[in-house]
């Protein structure tokens, strides 16, 4: 049993790719909390992940790597902002509390990452059922959309929900040991 962070640490590119697929969109979206420029955010997210790869030897578990990535991303955003309003800098240094809900932003993005990952990990039909129902569609509408009987849908939906919950439970665990 191996921890994905340890696999990345040992130079495993496949493991890093898997990690990248999860974290790239998250970091893009996270950067957008600070900057409007979407392309800039993408560059920053890529740069952050590349830096993590280069510094992979420093990280032994997910929570450290995660903190590093969010921190590097935020600081890169700050650097862009700083150039735009260099004058603010001194003010903040001279003792004023800098209010940034960094922790909250991370939690928010981790929630959406987990949701996204768990739903996408489901088999196609189950995923469609979940997505439709998250959009607020009724069972009868979903059954018609997918082309199955409502009774079958009921069973499938129950199974999909159970599977989804399990996937969520496994998320941090899977990232740690698989």
């Amino acid at each position: 049993m191996q921890n994905i962070i340890l696999e990345i640490r040992s130079g495993d590119r496949e493991a890093f790719r898997e990690f990248f697929e999860d974290y790239y969109p998250v970091l893009c979206s996270f950067a957008r909390k600070y900057l409007f420029d979407t392309e800039r955010c993408r560059d920053i997210a890529q740069e952050a992940l590349l830096t993590y790869w280069e510094e992979r030897g420093r990280f032994l578990d997910l929570s450290e790597a995660r903190r590093f990535l969010y921190t590097v991303t935020r600081n890169a955003c700050f650097n862009v902002l700083k150039k735009e309003r260099a004058a603010d800098r001194y003010l903040q240094a001279s003792g004023q509390e800098y209010a940034d809900d960094f922790e909250e932003k991370i939690i928010e993005h981790e929630v959406f990452l987990l949701l996204h990952k768990a739903v996408n990990g489901l088999p196609t039909q189950m995923r469609r059922i979940i997505e439709y129902s998250l959009q607020g569609m009724r069972n009868s509408e979903i059954a018609r959309e997918i082309g199955i009987a409502e009774g079958t849908l009921h069973t499938l939906k129950k199974r999909a929900y159970r599977k989804l919950r399990e996937a969520m439970k496994d998320h941090f665990y899977v990232l740690l040991f698989f």
Partner: protein, 388 residues
């Protein structure tokens, strides 16, 4: 986000997917009660528009394309610690040498330090300017051969450029190349005569791809450690900001940053002559020739060579050094931005020895532990002031 927050993340995600268990709901309820910030965050995350926007944002990213780009850069392996003809092992991290203030090592109380600093070294680049003025980045890509005019062959490997295959080129008018380094990295070169040069951050070297004529002349700015190939028939001359160093075959460190008041040649082995065009001194190992920009005068002095060549052994070493000089050096190497909030903190002298390839944090921590200065990081800028 800390490890303990993983459970709440899982519970909220489950709640959003409408698959929350009773245990999830209980975890959420407790967490919401803990603070107003938690409650506000919960309200935010569970807002339909926020959820939809974020799912949309996830979907619109072209992960495949981003991955391809990053994968290319991963192959490039930007030079950091490398071993190319390094003869010394990396220094043990943060072994403190001088300073009477050794007690800080024992006071390991947590410090109020502001934010973590990102490692900005990685964005640095090394540029090679070919004879026709073309500029190419050379710290990217795997080992390769670069070709310049008149059959010049330059071997490029991780952190190293090698011109030694050009010795056989026919003598023609000299063709010059130039290497220009950004902050936060070091690089090594082998010139056509076999001379090896270790280049420190923010250095520039202009050199012929093959030495022709009686003298081997290069122009230099920044800091470099030179191991000059022995050839008494062809003196090796380095021109650096008003100082000319003439070498017959030796090892020395040359520091010639434009933003510093002096050019210093520190001799490790052999013998060199330093000159400003009018005066000339011969220096012996353990001595340093100093050229002052202000007076344009040259003098010599005895120095601790290990201090001036520490970077070459992967160390950051300073002794009785004013903080403003310490910070200037750190900025060169780590690519950090700093600011002194008062004048008096600039002059405080410090000493210490650190691993150059470690993060800057241990050094900042050391400064803090002396309790002589306040070091605070805000938005990636290091602010320094005298401790009141």
């Amino acid at each position: 986000m800390y490890k303990k927050d993983e459970r709440i993340v899982e519970a909220i995600a489950a709640r959003l997917a409408k698959v929350a268990t009773e245990e999830d709901l209980r975890v959420i309820a407790v967490w919401r009660m803990e603070s107003e910030r938690n409650e506000a965050l919960y309200q935010r995350i569970t807002t339909k528009e926020v959820l939809e926007k974020s799912i949309e944002e996830f979907r619109q990213e072209d992960v495949q394309r981003a991955w391809e780009r990053v994968e290319r850069l991963m192959n490039a392996s930007r030079p950091r610690r490398y071993t190319f003809f390094r003869r010394y092992a990396a220094a043990a991290a943060a072994a403190l040498i001088v300073l009477p203030l050794t007690w800080w090592l024992t006071s390991r109380a947590p410090l109020e330090t502001g934010e973590e600093l990102p490692d900005t070294r990685s964005s640095a680049k090394v540029q090679l300017v070919l004879s026709d003025g073309t500029t190419i980045p050379v710290n990217e890509g795997n080992a390769s051969i670069i070709r310049d005019s008149a059959g010049t062959v330059i071997r490029q490997e991780e952190g190293h450029l090698d011109y030694s295959q050009n010795e056989a080129l026919r003598d023609t008018t000299p063709i010059f190349n130039e290497i220009i380094m950004a902050n936060g990295m070091e690089y090594t070169m082998t010139l056509s005569d076999g001379t090896k040069i270790f280049l420190n951050a923010e250095s520039k070297l202009r050199f012929p791809v093959k030495f022709t004529g009686k003298k081997r002349v290069v122009e230099f700015e920044g800091e470099g450690y030179f191991e000059v190939a022995h050839d008494p028939q062809h003196p090796f001359i380095v021109r650096a900001g008003g100082m000319e160093v003439t070498v017959l075959g030796t090892e020395f460190n040359l520091r010639a940053y434009k933003d510093e008041p002096t050019v210093e040649t520190t001799l490790v082995e052999g013998s060199v002559r330093v000159s400003n065009g009018k005066e000339e001194f011969r220096i012996v190992p353990g001595e340093q020739g100093v050229y002052e920009h202000g007076t344009k005068r040259i003098s010599t002095r005895q120095v601790d060579v290990t201090l001036y060549t520490a970077w070459h052994r992967n160390e950051i070493k300073f002794k009785d050094m004013p903080l403003e000089d310490v910070m200037r050096d750190l900025a060169r190497w780590y690519g950090i931005v700093y600011e002194f909030l008062d004048e008096s903190s600039r002059k405080i002298e410090f000493g210490g020895c650190f691993d150059r390839f470690e993060h800057i944090d241990p050094i900042l921590d050391m400064l803090r532990r002396t309790e002589l200065v306040e070091v605070v990081v805000r938005e990636s800028v290091i602010y320094i002031s005298k401790k009141k």
